[in-house]
């Protein structure tokens, strides 16, 4: 590890400031609703006693095939051994941005140089939509955290680390990790020095991923081919994108290890096919590495003749960029209906001002969880008109719901809501239902309500019960494996295997 210098201090300063400001805005975590799915899955693993191949906590009582790679949920289930699930969700949502800042700092500092690492950290901290996506798309975020570390391990010829990290990425997200794999393959084609290392890394990690891959391939037919958003819905942060494109060309011209970030950026374009909406946020990682390289080289090139004050001028320029980029973030946003150039607040300024929607975990939703828990047995099923809130209820109470999130996998059959023990309706739904059918509340007994939801007990002859499937991998083994992988990383790093 190189000694810290002033560029490191600047980069770490950005990370510390953004993390402290995030801590100040702790009420925004977990951001949005995606974490509720992961929280309910972790709770499901905890109830079942390990990794299962069938969701019993959603679309109950029949459930659906569980295809989501389990690493994040195993980590969350482990944390849940010591902390409440809501706290686990908060931590996971909070931690992903500082982690990606640190991992990209580590990779660029070790493989390129300190100045580049500083500019990369600066550029990745600009777009608030990347900050938000890191807090929101938790499994993808974890892959983005692992990606620079995989690149570092490959460049340093650390086979054990690269296999462990790549396997962790594969077990984290169903598609994002393959983008890393694709980047490595194209890199191997262009850089023959790394060919053997990359082939070994991919061969061993995909071999380790084989069990889950077979499970996915067997059940591939259950996945939908839906695309989310349109390619024309974009949010282009002009500063990182401008320097990023210069860096892209420059990396192609420089060749060798410069190829890898360029290949990663090109591989990420695949996201546009399925998730155009997310592309413009996730791309910040690739574009910031490229942008950092170009900014650093442009500055070096301009100052190369300033032999007397070169270092000082360079540092002053870095500080000016640091201030400027944290005040102005010109953005070009488009929708199919139009476009707009505007100046958005960069991440640090947004966190300072605090113009961010608070978390959806509120006293009201927690009250709803309490009502559900006190009116049901562990194997009872509830129906709620908003399945997202349903996932939150499952994660807190452990009760299964009749609908679910993560719509990429659909169940074969859905059970009618009348078979649920509890029926939870939002007030708008209830008013509409009563208008259409005045007898709607027959067989329903009021048990409680919150500001937006009313909870009823259903008195019907048939009530469905949740059934817990057998685990395919006990959680204790999963924890041991996770622990061993960290030990492997430390040993590989310390003892230069």
């Amino acid at each position: 590890m190189k000694k810290l210098n002033r560029y490191d201090v600047l980069a770490l300063g950005i990370i510390v400031v953004s993390t402290l400001l995030s801590l100040k805005r702790l009420n925004i975590f977990p951001v949005f609703v995606n974490i509720f799915y992961h929280m309910s899955t972790a709770k499901g693993f905890d109830i079942a006693g390990g990794v299962v191949l069938h969701d019993f906590w959603e679309f109950a009582p029949l459930g659906r095939t569980h295809l989501y790679p389990p690493l994040l949920h195993v980590i969350m289930a482990f944390m849940y051994e010591f902390l409440p699930m809501v706290t686990v969700g908060k931590i996971i949502s909070f931690i992903m941005f500082p982690l990606v800042q640190l991992s990209v700092f580590f990779y660029t500092r070790e493989i390129f140089d300190r100045k580049t690492a500083f500019y990369v950290v600066l550029l990745i901290t600009i777009p608030f939509n990347f900050y938000r996506s890191q807090a929101l798309t938790n499994a993808t975020s974890l892959v983005l955290v692992l990606t620079p570390l995989i690149f570092w391990a490959v460049e340093k010829n650390k086979l054990l680390s690269s296999v462990i990290l790549m396997s962790l990425a594969l077990y984290t997200h169903i598609s994002m990790s393959h983008i890393v794999g694709a980047a490595l393959i194209i890199y191997a084609v262009t850089n023959k020095d790394k060919r053997k290392m990359i082939l070994k890394t991919l061969a061993f990690s995909y071999l380790l991923f084989l069990p889950w891959m077979i499970h996915i391939l067997i059940n591939y037919g259950e996945m939908t081919s839906e695309t989310f958003g349109t390619i024309l819905q974009s949010e282009i942060h002009l500063i990182p994108m401008f320097f990023g494109f210069i860096g892209l060309v420059y990396c192609f011209l420089k060749k060798k290890y410069y190829y890898l970030p360029a290949m990663y950026f090109l591989s990420m374009i695949v996201i546009l096919y399925k998730y155009p909406m997310r592309f413009w946020a996730h791309i910040a990682l690739g574009i910031s590495i490229l942008g950092g390289i170009s900014l650093s080289e442009i500055e070096n090139s301009i100052l190369r003749n300033q032999k007397r004050y070169g270092l000082r001028i360079g540092f002053v320029v870095a500080i000016l960029f640091l201030i400027g980029f944290n005040l102005f973030d010109p953005v070009f946003s488009t929708t199919p209906l139009g476009n707009e150039f505007e100046n958005k607040d960069p991440t640090i300024l947004t966190l300072t001002k605090g113009n961010i929607a608070p978390s959806l975990i509120t006293p009201e939703t927690m009250d709803l969880c309490r009502i559900v828990e006190s009116n049901t047995e562990p194997d009872d099923i509830f129906f709620i008109t908003n399945p997202t809130i349903g996932c939150l209820i499952t994660s807190v109470t452990g009760r299964s719901q009749m609908q679910g999130m993560w719509h990429e996998v659909q169940p074969d059959l859905k059970t009618p809501p009348s078979a649920a023990k509890l029926f939870i309706a939002d007030t708008n739904f209830l008013n509409e239902a009563k208008k259409r059918n005045p007898d709607f509340l027959r067989n329903l007994t009021y048990v409680g309500e919150t500001e937006r939801y009313i909870v009823f007990l259903q008195e019907r002859p048939i009530t469905a019960k949740s059934k817990i499937p057998n685990t395919v991998f006990p959680k204790i083994l999963a924890y041991i494996l996770l622990f061993l992988s960290f030990i492997g990383l430390i040993i590989d790093h310390r003892f230069k295997l």
């Binding site: 190189k2 090139s301 476009n339």
Partner: protein, 129 residues
């Protein structure tokens, strides 16, 4: 600038001999002492090509998402601003009023091309006054 000055600048007082090269390389300052050369040609090419790709991307998205409806709203904004800024006392604005009224009707009828055409003419008329 001498190597010793650079090291002093970096706060490294007594580096080992064998460390000097790697420190200079890692710090990316070797270009200042005539070490690693930056390829100015490559960097210039990257700046030109990168800028071109950037401009191409932005303009593609701009033209793909630029609709007459949005342009109409922009023109209306300009039109209103001009009315506020111009001194129209004693001037015949009937034609301008008529054009803007027709443009609004066309906009309400979702004929954005016609609305845009009419508001453009209204802005032109206003400019002439």
């Amino acid at each position: 600038m001498e190597r010793e000055d650079i090291l002093k600048e970096m706060g490294i007082k007594e580096p080992q001999k064998e460390d000097i090269e790697s420190i200079l390389e890692n710090e990316n300052v070797s270009y200042l002492v005539g070490g690693k050369k930056i390829s100015k040609r490559k960097l210039s090419l990257a700046v030109i090509a990168g800028t071109l790709i950037f401009v191409l991307l932005i303009s593609t998205f701009y033209f793909l998402t630029n609709s007459p409806e949005r342009e109409y709203r922009d023109k209306v904004r300009t039109f209103k601003k001009m009315i506020q800024e111009k001194n129209l006392e004693g001037k015949d604005v009937s034609n301008v009023v008529e054009l803007s009224r027709k443009a609004e009707i066309a906009y309400r009828n979702e004929d954005y091309n016609l609305a845009l055409e009419l508001i453009k003419r209204a802005v032109e008329e206003l400019r002439r006054l």
